[in-house]
């Protein structure tokens, strides 16, 4: 069963606080419950969520190849964030998944969250430098507040 620790509780408070401060949004919107889990539990939960989609056997096999890379996941149906023990139970991953939990835009969901996580944590070891370059240019053109507004409204996440 996924679990909670005192450290995780502290990490959760830190993550919510830092996101709210930097993005200037209300901390109360972060309602997703956060847990730590092991790799078996995470795989099982991802596959279980995917059962809701009508996927072919080939698509399911493809997805199974990527699951071992997942170190954190926001589950929309249960409104929960699961962090892989020893790999994903850190500020970077939690900030990333919290952003997914409040994200309204789609498609192209990943890069906007990726960039905002970097802006919040300032950890450039976790993001592709070429992507930073792209999004810094976007930020110069449209400003950070419009990127924040983009993630919180329906529509293509890269449509500015």
């Amino acid at each position: 069963m996924p679990w909670v620790t005192d450290e995780l509780t502290q990490l959760t408070e830190n993550a919510k606080s830092i996101i709210a401060n930097i993005l200037k949004i209300d901390i109360r919107i972060f309602v997703a419950k956060v847990y730590i889990c092991n790799s078996h539990e995470l795989s099982k939960e991802i596959l279980s969520e995917l059962e809701q989609s009508n996927l072919t056997m080939k698509e399911k096999s493809m997805i199974k190849l990527f699951i071992p890379n997942v170190i954190g996941k926001y589950f929309n149906l249960s409104d929960e964030i699961w962090l892989l023990h020893g790999e994903g139970d850190n500020l970077n991953t939690l900030v990333h998944e919290y952003l997914h939990s409040i994200q309204q835009c789609r498609p192209n969901r990943e890069n906007i969250v990726y960039y905002l996580s970097y802006r919040i944590t300032q950890d450039n070891s976790s993001i592709n430098p070429l992507l930073i370059k792209d999004w810094e240019e976007i930020e110069r053109d449209v400003r950070l507040k419009n990127i924040i507004s983009r993630i919180m409204t329906k529509g293509d996440c890269e449509d500015f």
């Binding site: 997805i63 170190i71 996941k73 890069n111 969250v113 070891s125 976790s126």
Partner: protein, 153 residues
């Protein structure tokens, strides 16, 4: 001696390929090297023999090979790793772009998904240890992207 080492490692494409693979994977057998480099086993055997003579490669246990820990090879390892990280970032960026839904489309083009998958598999095959060590967050994001694309989100 150093000049011979440089000549043997940098002046020969087969040596370069083998050396790069050993820098990434740290310890490999001839079979592993053949699979990853697509160089024939006889050619790998010949090259490894020369590299061992030049103290570039050692055989810590029977049938496996690793880079030696000399000042020259340590410098070369660093240079290779920096270049490898650059290459990986470029390829992951490429995969990322292939998986984006372009303006005016509703989904990602199937050809793009296949190409992205092909590049991803190549990266895993060639650079898996480095990816696991230094690209966890990128792999996490990329996996979310692949899953979203396949599910059609």
């Amino acid at each position: 001696m150093l000049e011979d080492q440089i000549e043997n490692v940098l002046g020969n494409p087969t040596s370069q390929k083998i050396t790069r693979l050993l820098v990434v994977w740290k310890l490999l057998s001839v079979q592993d090297l053949a699979e990853k480099s697509r160089i024939s086993k006889p050619q790998i055997h010949t090259t490894l023999k020369k590299l061992k003579e030049q103290n570039i490669v050692v055989s810590p246990s029977r049938g496996t090979y690793a880079i030696t820990s000399t000042p020259f090879m340590n410098l070369l390892k660093k240079a290779y790793l920096i270049r490898t990280v650059e290459l990986i970032n470029q390829q992951l960026y490429r995969v990322n772009n292939l998986l984006r839904v372009k303006k005016g489309s509703k989904t990602v083009n199937t050809k793009n998904i296949d190409k992205a998958f092909e590049i991803y598999n190549y990266l895993i095959q060639q650079y898996d240890p480095i990816l696991r060590e230094s690209f966890k967050h990128q792999l996490n994001s990329l996996s979310h992207q692949f899953i979203d694309t396949i599910v059609g989100e």
